[in-house]
């Protein structure tokens, strides 16, 4: 292992089916993950990919149809949720409406039969940690969305779980609050040292907060890596497409030479890419190039070059995104930063030369 840290949660070949007979839903189809201690780990994917199901399996609300789940080495998949030292922050917060904030936060400790003194102390400390100490006696139904979220967080942290599970906790908040909470969550994880497992469909959240991300789709893990790895080196079509924007070229490999593969696009254009291990001439592959790695440059730069016509610019504030039509009919997206003169350099109808390094071209084997 590259990391000397302990494994906090190890998921071994977990399978989960719902239903029976001919109406079976395969929510999880053989998932294996190793989530490390003191890590901010995110499960990212579109709805229905199984990320929430996996989270619920770890929490104990679902039981895997097959496979094991280990928590710091101990098998927990047969334990009920109230016997697992794992706590959840629910998507709709699930704050008990008939209790005050303090009662909510102290609930877990009460269930564990701690002394009243201990409960009061811990509750006060935790509320301070999430900046909610002034609302301790408020009814949970009288709080704003952001406040409820904080209380839910405090409630889950009060019992010092080994792992904290967060099920899309920011999805109900508006943008500014969401961004603020992202920073706070990240900080909280670093301060407490507890492993956070975070579920979301929002890639910006995943990329900004996580130490590592597992991209999921259709009940399978597509790729696990740091945000940089996921973004810059997607391993397959799904990941390249789901994360950010990209341009896909379906090409045939013509020749492989010294780590670089020369490929031919249907229209005849030649693109040089980083060769993937094991690729050979004659293979049909997909190439992925991020729009921001393509430049408008006329001459003098080595690397790949295509000619096209500017079709449609879209102003995005920080960048401008151009749709460029190639002679063979395909469109390519190009992003240029406006601060570097992007918005004004070209206009619709211009013929431009597009240039990009072979290093920016990712070869996907599927």
């Amino acid at each position: 292992m590259a990391d000397a840290r302990n494994s906090a949660v190890k998921i071994e070949h977990v399978v989960k089916w719902f239903g029976a007979g001919d109406r079976v839903v395969h929510a999880l189809a053989d998932v294996s993950l190793d989530i490390l201690d003191n890590e901010f780990f995110t499960l990212l994917g579109p709805s229905g990919c199984g990320k929430t199901t996996l989270l619920r399996c770890i929490a104990g609300f679902e039981q895997p149809t097959d496979g094991r789940i280990l928590l710091f080495g101990d098998e927990i998949d047969e334990l009920p949720p109230n016997k697992r030292p794992v706590n959840t922050v629910f998507q709709h917060y699930a704050l008990f409406p008939h209790m005050t904030v303090a009662a909510n936060v102290g609930f877990g400790l009460r269930m564990l039969k701690r002394s009243k003194n201990e409960i009061d102390t811990v509750v006060a400390r935790i509320l301070k940690l999430v900046h909610m100490e002034h609302l301790a006696d408020r009814r949970s139904t009288q709080l704003s969305g952001g406040q409820q979220q904080r209380v839910a967080l405090a409630r889950a942290l009060a019992t010092q779980p080994k792992v904290l599970l967060l099920d899309e906790p920011l999805s109900a908040l508006d943008l500014k609050l969401r961004q603020q909470m992202r920073d706070e969550l990240k900080q909280l994880q670093e301060e407490t040292g507890i492993t956070f497992i975070f579920v979301t469909h929002d890639q910006e959240e995943a990329l900004t907060m996580s130490d590592r991300v597992a991209v999921m789709s259709d009940g399978e893990v597509q790729q696990v890596g740091t945000p940089t790895e996921i973004y810059e080196q997607p391993k397959n079509h799904f990941v390249a497409d789901f994360i950010g924007e990209t341009n896909f070229f379906d090409v045939t490999v013509e020749s492989v030479n010294g780590g670089k593969a020369t490929c031919v696009a249907p229209g005849g254009a030649r693109v040089v890419a980083e060769a993937v291990e094991g690729c050979k001439a004659g293979d049909t592959v997909s190439l992925s190039v991020r729009p921001e790695r393509i430049r408008f440059a006329a001459e003098g730069v080595d690397g790949n070059s295509l000619i096209g016509v500017i079709e449609r610019p879209t102003y995005l504030g920080t960048d401008t995104r151009y749709r460029v039509r190639l002679p063979d009919g395909f469109s390519v997206l190009v992003r240029v930063q406006n601060a570097h003169g992007g918005a004004n350099s070209v206009t619709v109808g211009d013929t431009v030369a597009l240039r990009f390094d072979p290093g920016a071209v990712i070869m996907l084997m599927d």
Partner: protein, 251 residues
């Protein structure tokens, strides 16, 4: 047409109420506002005894019915299970069977089994038809409680019993109270079934009123009617309000 409908529905009872305050015993002449008839009604020995009986039975029947109904509602929630529709059919059966038929059935049964006809038999019969009335508000309330509250409780180390008593039950309480109040007033108001299964010595308020009516309408009856009316309306409205209170959505 709606106004006509409203007049039709409320007219008679309002008129009865008005006349209950008429000092003198006449339709045509207004003798002055007076509580005299109310005093007379409340002092009536028979009425007092009957009211006492009615209250005892109502409290008893609604308590038992509400408890049973709560258990039943807890059993019926969640995903469908085999026999669920059948169970619901049985629970709502007292609502479907015409009261006269239920009354006959109860009478025949008690006599056959040898249960003496008195307050006890009334209590038993009332409990039966109070169950569906208590069940409906409880079940409605239970349906409104999202599943994630109990999940959150279990996540926070509560076992089944703790989760129920600390989370589910407090959230269910308004529904239980609404069910109780509804069952109470249904028991208090019942006439047909009570008429059949009451013994010679035991009389309830509706039975006593019926007896009085048979001998002729008096302003006393107006007074009693108005009072019972107000009590009924009060209980039903309270049941409705409490049942709606604070469904607990954290959105």
């Amino acid at each position: 047409m709606t106004w006509a409908c409203m007049v039709f529905l409320y007219g008679p009872i309002i008129i009865v109420a008005i006349y209950s305050f008429n000092e003198i015993r006449s339709i045509t002449v207004w003798g002055g506002f007076s509580f005299a008839w109310y005093v007379k009604a409340l002092n009536n020995d028979l009425i007092q005894r009957a009211t006492f009986n009615s209250l005892i039975i109502a409290v008893g029947a609604s308590t038992i019915a509400t408890s049973f109904a709560t258990l039943a509602a807890l059993a019926m929630r969640g995903r469908a299970f085999r026999g669920r529709e059948g169970a619901f059919g049985v629970i709502s059966l007292p609502l479907i069977v015409p009261e006269i038929v239920s009354a006959v059935a109860s009478l025949i049964f008690f006599v056959l089994i040898g249960i003496p006809l008195g307050l006890g038999s009334i209590l038993l019969a009332h409990t039966v038809f109070c169950i569906p009335f208590a069940y409906l508000p409880i079940s409605a309330r239970l349906d409104g409680i999202e599943g994630y509250y109990e999940e959150a409780a279990r996540d926070l180390y509560a076992d089944g019993r703790q989760a129920f008593f600390h989370v589910t039950l407090p959230m269910l309480l308004p529904g239980i109270m609404a069910g109780f109040m509804l069952a109470f007033i249904i028991s208090l108001d019942d006439f047909i079934i009570t008429n059949f299964v009451a013994g010679p010595g035991s009389t309830t308020l509706p039975l006593a009123i019926y007896g009085l009516v048979r001998t002729g309408l008096t302003p006393e009856i107006n007074a009693i009617s108005t009072m019972l009316l107000l009590v009924s309306i009060f209980f039903v409205t309270m049941s409705f309000i409490i049942g709606r209170r604070n469904v607990g959505k954290n959105r």
